[in-house]
Symmetry: D4
Subunit: 221 residues, 8 copies
Amino acid sequence: RRCGAAEVIYAAGKTADQVVRIAKAIYVRGDVVLMTRANDEQITAVCDAFKGEPIEVADSCGAVMIGSPGGMEDAEDSNRGGMVVPIVTAGTSDLPVAEEAAMTVKAMGCEARMVCDVGVAGLHRLMGRMDELGGDDVRVLIVVAGMEGALPSVVGGLVDVPVIAVPTSVGYGASFGGVAALLGMLNSCASGVVVVNIDNGFGAGYTASMIVKQNRVSAND
Amino acid sequence: RRCGAAEVIYAAGKTADQVVRIAKAIYVRGDVVLMTRANDEQITAVCDAFKGEPIEVADSCGAVMIGSPGGMEDAEDSNRGGMVVPIVTAGTSDLPVAEEAAMTVKAMGCEARMVCDVGVAGLHRLMGRMDELGGDDVRVLIVVAGMEGALPSVVGGLVDVPVIAVPTSVGYGASFGGVAALLGMLNSCASGVVVVNIDNGFGAGYTASMIVKQNRVSAND
Amino acid sequence: RRCGAAEVIYAAGKTADQVVRIAKAIYVRGDVVLMTRANDEQITAVCDAFKGEPIEVADSCGAVMIGSPGGMEDAEDSNRGGMVVPIVTAGTSDLPVAEEAAMTVKAMGCEARMVCDVGVAGLHRLMGRMDELGGDDVRVLIVVAGMEGALPSVVGGLVDVPVIAVPTSVGYGASFGGVAALLGMLNSCASGVVVVNIDNGFGAGYTASMIVKQNRVSAND
Amino acid sequence: RRCGAAEVIYAAGKTADQVVRIAKAIYVRGDVVLMTRANDEQITAVCDAFKGEPIEVADSCGAVMIGSPGGMEDAEDSNRGGMVVPIVTAGTSDLPVAEEAAMTVKAMGCEARMVCDVGVAGLHRLMGRMDELGGDDVRVLIVVAGMEGALPSVVGGLVDVPVIAVPTSVGYGASFGGVAALLGMLNSCASGVVVVNIDNGFGAGYTASMIVKQNRVSAND
Amino acid sequence: RRCGAAEVIYAAGKTADQVVRIAKAIYVRGDVVLMTRANDEQITAVCDAFKGEPIEVADSCGAVMIGSPGGMEDAEDSNRGGMVVPIVTAGTSDLPVAEEAAMTVKAMGCEARMVCDVGVAGLHRLMGRMDELGGDDVRVLIVVAGMEGALPSVVGGLVDVPVIAVPTSVGYGASFGGVAALLGMLNSCASGVVVVNIDNGFGAGYTASMIVKQNRVSAND
Amino acid sequence: RRCGAAEVIYAAGKTADQVVRIAKAIYVRGDVVLMTRANDEQITAVCDAFKGEPIEVADSCGAVMIGSPGGMEDAEDSNRGGMVVPIVTAGTSDLPVAEEAAMTVKAMGCEARMVCDVGVAGLHRLMGRMDELGGDDVRVLIVVAGMEGALPSVVGGLVDVPVIAVPTSVGYGASFGGVAALLGMLNSCASGVVVVNIDNGFGAGYTASMIVKQNRVSAND
Amino acid sequence: RRCGAAEVIYAAGKTADQVVRIAKAIYVRGDVVLMTRANDEQITAVCDAFKGEPIEVADSCGAVMIGSPGGMEDAEDSNRGGMVVPIVTAGTSDLPVAEEAAMTVKAMGCEARMVCDVGVAGLHRLMGRMDELGGDDVRVLIVVAGMEGALPSVVGGLVDVPVIAVPTSVGYGASFGGVAALLGMLNSCASGVVVVNIDNGFGAGYTASMIVKQNRVSAND
Amino acid sequence: RRCGAAEVIYAAGKTADQVVRIAKAIYVRGDVVLMTRANDEQITAVCDAFKGEPIEVADSCGAVMIGSPGGMEDAEDSNRGGMVVPIVTAGTSDLPVAEEAAMTVKAMGCEARMVCDVGVAGLHRLMGRMDELGGDDVRVLIVVAGMEGALPSVVGGLVDVPVIAVPTSVGYGASFGGVAALLGMLNSCASGVVVVNIDNGFGAGYTASMIVKQNRVSAND
Ligand SMILES: Nc1ncnc2c1ncn2[C@@H]1O[C@H](COP(=O)(O)O)[C@@H](O)[C@H]1O
Ligand SMILES: Nc1ncnc2c1ncn2[C@@H]1O[C@H](COP(=O)(O)O)[C@@H](O)[C@H]1O
Ligand SMILES: Nc1ncnc2c1ncn2[C@@H]1O[C@H](COP(=O)(O)O)[C@@H](O)[C@H]1O
Ligand SMILES: Nc1ncnc2c1ncn2[C@@H]1O[C@H](COP(=O)(O)O)[C@@H](O)[C@H]1O
Ligand SMILES: [Mg+2]
Ligand SMILES: [Mg+2]
Ligand SMILES: [Mg+2]
Ligand SMILES: [Mg+2]
Ligand SMILES: [Mg+2]
Ligand SMILES: [Mg+2]
Ligand SMILES: [Mg+2]
Ligand SMILES: [Mg+2]
């Protein structure tokens, strides 16, 4: 079963019942359901309710996708590259946010390419993976980082496409729950860096997909 | 005389001499020069130094463009639409920031379309100009607002393309020099809204152009 | 049994015993008791203590009303409209705060009219319910919103009565527990918007009732 | 010449020319013009442009009213009381904000009654003027205070009508340009206190007039 | 058994064992032990360890006094008045902080006089107890308040002695854990108001006792 | 000519005329006039208006005293010591605030003893002047410091009397206009430290005098 | 078994499995493993996995060292002094942070010398231990303090070597989780004070060891 | 004329006369005078007063050095390298702060090596100058950056010596006068990064010299 567009449920602050009810309403319309910030109870309830349907869960961040987004498979080979969104992370603890972004990108019918643990304090690791970040096929990058949030500036200086920077709440003390990273990204001296809310992997994934699909659409015209 | 790529000088904190010298070095390479945040003395010095060359000045924000970016004129008619970037403002006082964005968009070889004074407290004004915001040709929007910074949320809910939100320092008291607008935009409940620094028209214009030109390139393949 | 004026107990930081004792002292005087921010233990204790008396509980926010406020029923039909207070919310998570406001409005002898889930990112939902917000009978509106807190600005621009804006602590990251919404509302570019503390549904309901009842009194003169 | 409704121009960040042009456009429609935050140059330009017309200027705050609002004079005697809005200030330095509120109240066709220099550190002064604050005719109060912003709490405890609290930027050090007063007012333990932005006399005057005129309308029905 | 001076243990972050050991070391020297911020485990351990000795516990705040401070009983009758420290609170939730102050005052050999629930929103309650606040015998006042923290300003305006203001973390939303009250008190427009840290009942009690005992000493010379 | 009590005018935000008028009204009643934060224009106007009267001006801080406070001269020799208030400063730039405190102390009929430039980074300087800080005659200390504001903690640990700590706005960067010093003082680990607003020399001097004079009165009984 | 260099694992946000796996990978390379911020589960897992190997655990802060760093033992006697790093703490609650610093210093092959509980409010305690802070052998000091964070300023004024200041989150109210201490240290008026993040004992220990070992290396040349 | 140790005058907030007087007192003792933050008037006065003496002025930051520090010239050739302190800057506007650091380094008898304009958004510029940053002779680095303050993290990851990070107030909007850079540096994920106050070039230069000279001393033993 192949669904059409993706619609999103922000599960935080809703009951398991509410979440299942809304998900069903969306799914019967033929749309992919993307749920973010679901807790264990909500995930179990949804998995029960959608037994037999295609469902994918990212435990680390509570993201759930129900249904199979069309997209990559449909695209002609020569066009698939452009629909790939590299998601770059500074450290291991940034992974949950990156996985929320990745699930969003998939639910939008694009492909996520994880490039992890390439923080700025070990520049050689980043340099060793530049081919995964650049190349003709890449039209936008998502860069996820906590603590000082410096990675988007460095990456932004190395590539020629927009960088969507996601500050994470990883850190302690004067990281102030992600504020240090957020401010670092807003003040980036690299051109082409835009920012979303702290830990907002969804927002980054959604916007990146918008950018990527616009390309696709115009190319397919 | 038609220039190639655009290179940017951030004039704040530089002397008039330094600014002229850097501008010349860029210009002789055949590139368009974009200068932002230039003061009167710097503008005069640059205008003197580049007498006879194509030069455009936006006094309100201190942006200067030297040279003629290729782009729109070169594009085939059927493709020009996609290179237009609507720049939407909430109020009159947001204009200087919007003009920095517009000059940047132009220096990048795209076209800026100003849609001004359509703040959320007078929704009918915004509604009356939706055709300028949407349409097949639009691939990204810049939305500039101060005070409560609500306009990107409203616009983001009405369109299907990414919105680059620019908070401005317009306001007083608890606007805290643009912080209220910045926070509003970071917390936007509309999907597809990304944010740049307070008053950073340049950053919005630059990223929007990146998005738009990617489209152009892939369409032209 | 019909009570006179309403008196309020802020239950947070009091013991169940203290809360019951104070409630009894008020009730025997013939007044309606409104209790806010009561926890489960306090609610149970109060329900036990007032078994047989008219009592209403809003679990979501811990508001409890004991006694029957006079008001709507007493009013002549032609005057009832003016005593209705529309309570508008942006999203589902704002409901508990809206329910605190609603219980307060009722305890003051007025009527609450809930208009929920009409956040600014889906303007058509708000537009489709404008008749519930406006009309001759409406003299004041309560608008409850978290995240970017933009709804009061939009609503304020569409109506000609005062808007009491209630920021909620709904959101994450740079919402800073309701600060983003609070700042947004304080900086509203719509005229006639006043603000109460984060999550203060009570304050909004109380002030709205004051405004509405003044009308009633003068109309009944 | 008697005008109809009042329309408002926020002069800050506009040129003298722009301000005159907008004022004329409003005035020819038959409306009262209220201009706030006008600087000396703007005030002179407006006074020149409207020579011969009824014009009132409050230098302390840069508020200007052009035209004669109907209202108080039209009201039957028995109804005039309800259209009076007491504006209470804590200290001398709060006066400019109070005068912005007063001019706004007048432009809306109501009457402002100044009760000044009755800060909480000298309670007897406030007590000696309670008759001006209360009474049958008062339906709403504006209370203006800087520094610790405690006056609205005290006044709110003494009266039964809504209090619109206006924090001012008066103070130094840890007053943080009005933030201390703003927070004090948002946390008021008196019921019925609502708050506007720091120094926003206009917002308080506008909302107070809305409340007062609703009364009038219903009384006149 | 009568002890000499009081020495203080701040129990937070220490083990029950550590706390008992330090207390014993002080007590054997003949000093009164004052312990603040002790948790249940620490209180039980101390009560066990000092079975048979004079011990007083304030559960609400975790303050414990071991030993009998000399002072009031020793003073000649005519001098006792001056050693009384009125502790004034705005609301019920401020009580734990007031009790920490009271226990400290007692451990210093002075007398605490509680004047509770006299917040500024109900001025008559405060006015009805002015005799307990003033009079010849009072040389300093402690005023404890959360939320907007306005009580010290009002009290300070009514008396001629120093007021030690204690902001409490009572409140929600924009009270920011006592910051609103702290700022209010620092900006008090009443002369003679000094401030201690949020919830620091100990600091207020200690300083008040210093002031009061200086008086005593000099009077007894 | 000897005056009675001192009354205070806060000159900031008043015109020279207003300031002179208020000063005269106080002076004719027979009171000492203390004016703080007067600018050059106000000082000149006051000096002109009170030519021939005893007047003292502290240019560094804009404090002015008109009239001769009784006090020290009247006290019997054996009692004068107790009326001395040491005012301790960390650095040269803290002097203006210390001088506001000193003028206030004098206007209250006490004596100020300046102990300057004894900041904590040069402990030997402080140690070399401990005799001026302590001694039988000292009942309270004022300690003025900017930057990290550590001096009150150190002094408070060395003396047995209350320390009134005055944070100053001296510093740059992360001193945030005195906030770092203010926080340091509020968190002092020395017992007996109370705090006033940033740069509020007046408040410290006033409260110190209250404490000192209480002693005097009881000693004279 | 003697290891070479030390490599660090920041355990927070990693699973016990991940932590063991990384530790093994480092250890087999012949390096000392330093793990910080490990929780009980992680500590147990690591102790199990490295049974038989040299392992040291600091429970208070969750620091673990696996392997035996060379260093002190290798150094000739005359050179050992310079490799000692005094770690000075203000109070008992600062100990966990000091112990993270000490474990780091040891893992780097240097020696930690604890000088505890010498806060500025009891200067004699600090003075009595100055010989442990200074002397020819000391090349850098670590000073750990919470609350007002004044200790580095005092120590910095007494010694001639760099002071690495570590603010801790010890305190309450306006200590804001270590921000007051952090600001105090950044604004230190003593020369030679540098600062690390709140509670970052690791950072201080690492940098101090770098400084100390540079000395050693050059001395050994 | 060769001077001994350097002593420092912080000129901000002192008169030209005071500054000259203090400078003379230091100079006659035979010490080098380092003055920071001097304004034009102070610089002129000092140059006049010390005509004929060796004097060096850095206009950009107001630093002045009087006298000739011994140091580099005295050192044997093989040891000079270790006394060099590289000062790395991100952009042109960071230069004044770097020059304050350089003048301090020189006044301490060491050598400053400027490595400018190597911000993280153009990594190749930094990479091209790594030889100036590293090498056997370098024992500590100063890294100066505004905006997002990411440079110390990147540099710290590339070298094995301590990095003293200096945040600058360069930037606008959400850079908050250097706070974004300060937070970035405090949260650096590179080991061995310590931080000084915003714009505090002096503090960095002083501490770096302490580190470097310790090396020298031990090497010379
Ligand atoms: N208004 C602006 N706001 C933020 N960054 C800017 C602005 N204008 C230019 N820039 C950035 O500054 C760089 C040039 O800085 P500079 O080399 O100092 O002239 C450009 O490459 C842009 O990335
Ligand atoms: N002093 C003021 N503070 C806040 N808002 C104001 C003020 N004066 C006018 N306004 C608002 O600004 C609007 C006019 O803005 P503009 O069209 O830019 O002149 C009015 O409709 C008011 O809502
Ligand atoms: N420098 C100052 N800082 C804070 N409050 C002051 C200061 N000087 C005077 N005051 C207070 O301001 C009051 C006089 O204010 P005003 O009536 O406006 O002149 C005095 O009674 C003092 O309580
Ligand atoms: N307690 C700590 N605080 C700050 N940084 C740390 C701490 N412990 C380790 N690190 C840093 O974290 C890095 C290891 O991080 P990871 O690779 O995530 O284990 C080390 O190289 C250190 O730079
Ligand atoms: Mg780039
Ligand atoms: Mg959209
Ligand atoms: Mg409206
Ligand atoms: Mg009331
Ligand atoms: Mg008083
Ligand atoms: Mg003491
Ligand atoms: Mg030192
Ligand atoms: Mg390194």
